[in-house]
């Protein structure tokens, strides 16, 4: 296992408990998807791995996170990124006043003494749009371009484990499809292990090998992507494909009980 999270609890500001015993493991070379509704704790789980909880006053209070054999919980982000774990933040956070190419160069921060020309070419091969806009300020790029930019920026660090937080947020369906194809290619061609947090469960389960479902700071279900896709409850609650005869309403006792089991 490349990454193993054992029963972690995360507390913000010493009072607010967000994760209550989350365990999951990620095998090297796989795409693992993390699904769940808003506020379930998906982003917090990613931040616990990447060390970005610290600046937000959050802490792993219990449990262990083991990456490649060594414990990494509560290490600083500087140390964790140098081990090869890079998180792509939710909501595309480009450096607005830097050009596209300068943004990509920041991705080399973990290994800035080495040459980066080849990596730049690799990123431009995955995202040809960026090559066209390399001299323009990132602040003036479109949403789709920005998502590609922040993913390319992460690739520049040559990550072993890439944590993607909602790459489809606010993008047109065609752009989403393109981005997911690229994620799949990165996983296959570069051998990068990927943890994917998504609201777009349908897309996520198409490219993932394995999936976890989170609710209220806990893992409530896990399984191979295929199993999850076929599971009737997942279909109804997360894929939005309830069978025609069940009217999804809490007045409907059967539906209520089924949903209740998840929460």
């Amino acid at each position: 296992m490349l990454l193993e999270i054992n029963n972690i609890s995360v507390v913000y500001a010493d009072v607010l408990q967000v994760l209550k015993g989350v365990s999951l493991s990620v095998e090297e070379g796989r795409v693992v998807s993390l699904l769940g509704s808003n506020g379930a704790g998906k982003t917090t789980t990613l931040k616990a791995v990447s060390g970005l909880l610290k600046p937000e006053n959050g802490k792993v209070t219990d449990g262990t996170i083991v990456y490649d054999g060594c414990p990494i919980h509560n290490l600083s982000p500087e140390e964790i990124t140098r081990k090869g774990i890079i998180q792509v933040l939710e909501g595309r956070q480009p450096f607005k006043y830097l050009t596209v190419e300068e943004n990509l160069r920041v991705g080399t921060a973990t290994r800035w003494t080495q040459p980066y020309q080849e990596d730049l070419e690799l990123v431009y091969r995955y995202f040809p749009v960026l090559l066209k806009r390399r001299k323009s300020l990132a602040g003036y790029c479109s949403g789709g371009e920005l998502q590609m930019l922040v993913m390319g920026r992460a690739l520049m660090a040559r990550p072993r484990l890439l944590l993607l937080d909602e790459p489809s947020l606010g993008l047109a369906p065609l752009v989403v499809r393109e981005i997911f194809q690229i994620i799949e290619r990165i996983n296959e061609e570069q051998g990068t292990t990927i943890v994917l947090v998504e609201q777009n469960s349908k897309m996520a389960l198409q490219i993932a090998h394995y999936g976890y479902v989170m609710e209220n700071g806990k893992i409530v279900m896990e399984g191979t992507a295929e199993d999850l896709r076929k599971n009737p409850d997942i279909k109804e609650f997360y894929l939005g494909m309830g069978s025609a005869e069940t009217i999804r309403s809490y007045r409907n006792v059967k539906s209520y009980r089924r949903r209740k089991r998840w929460l």
Partner: protein
């Protein structure tokens, strides 16, 4: 007309030095949003260090200059490491109080070491540096200021545009969380910005010391002129700092030349108040790019 041109040339030369000093101030503010009230003392410290090395230590000017720059950089680095780093994440007001405390501390230490007297540098600039255009003469100090100013502006411009560390520094100023997520050593960037700020403050301290003579009180109050400069230029713009510096330099020399020399040191602060009333973000403050 000649008088006007002469004043203008002097103003630009002095202004460039103000601009360089303000650049250091803006750098700290951009990277860590800390307003450094000890900037004037860093400036004075540089001037005194250079003075000690040349006048008392007997070192050649070039060696003393390079040594002073290195020492100031290290001083800035140490200040960040010892005093600022423990306060990362604390409320901004505490950090500002700290820099005010630092300014008193440095001033006291300098008074202890060198006393409150006015010193002057031995005349080391060659007379050949003095330039002559018709009726206008540029004294050697001002030519030196112009050369040093232009050189370091170009140097830092290139540093921020092309070097990796320069790009990392800009990335931290732009979006700290994102920089952190990519493994940018944010604390090292803070330390580097303090080092560079102390270094540019020392440069301007040396040049202003040559022009006005060196005295702890005077130099540290000159350091306070970064406030009108950066307010005029916009707190978050390095180019703005330089332009603001030149404007303040011109304003000062013109006031000194045409009105009265006693008004000279007050006028930048009058302008500061007026600019704050009309354009609170400065003339060259960054235009926020609004798009998600």
């Amino acid at each position: 007309m000649e008088f006007f041109l002469q004043l203008m040339v002097n103003g630009v030369c002095i202004g460039l030095i103000y601009g360089i000093s303000a650049m250091g101030f803006v750098m700290i503010f951009k990277a860590s949003s800390v307003i450094n009230f000890a900037h004037g003392e860093l400036l004075a410290a540089g001037a005194f260090f250079f003075f000690t090395l040349t006048a008392w230590g007997g070192l050649p000017v070039y060696a003393a200059f390079i040594l002073t720059l290195a020492a100031s950089f290290i001083l800035g680095f140490i200040v960040e490491r010892l005093f600022l780093r423990p306060l990362i994440g604390e409320p901004l007001i505490e950090v500002i109080m700290l820099t005010i405390g630092l300014s008193s501390m440095f001033k006291g230490m300098m008074l202890l070491l060198w006393g409150g007297n006015l010193y002057t540098f031995p005349d080391f600039l060659p007379e050949s540096l003095s330039l002559r255009f018709g009726a206008i003469t540029i004294p050697p100090v001002y030519t030196g200021a112009l050369i040093i100013g232009a050189f370091f502006l170009a140097l830092f411009g290139l540093f921020f545009k092309y070097s990796s560390q320069g790009i990392f520094m800009r990335s931290v100023a732009d979006n700290q969380t994102a920089a952190l997520s990519l493994g940018v050593h944010v604390k090292r960037v803070f330390a580097l910005s303090w080092g560079i700020a102390a270094l540019v403050a020392a440069i301007s301290g040396i040049v202003l010391g040559i022009i006005n003579g060196i005295n702890v009180h005077e130099l540290s109050s000159i350091g306070l002129k970064v406030f009108p400069v950066v307010i005029l230029g916009g707190l978050d713009s390095i180019t703005g700092a330089v332009i603001g510096g030149i404007l303040i330099g011109l304003l000062e020399t013109f006031t000194g030349g045409y009105l009265s020399t006693s008004l000279k040191d007050v006028i930048p602060f009058i302008v500061l108040v007026i600019v704050l009333l009309i354009k609170p973000y400065g003339l060259f403050g960054l235009v926020e790019i609004e798009r998600v």
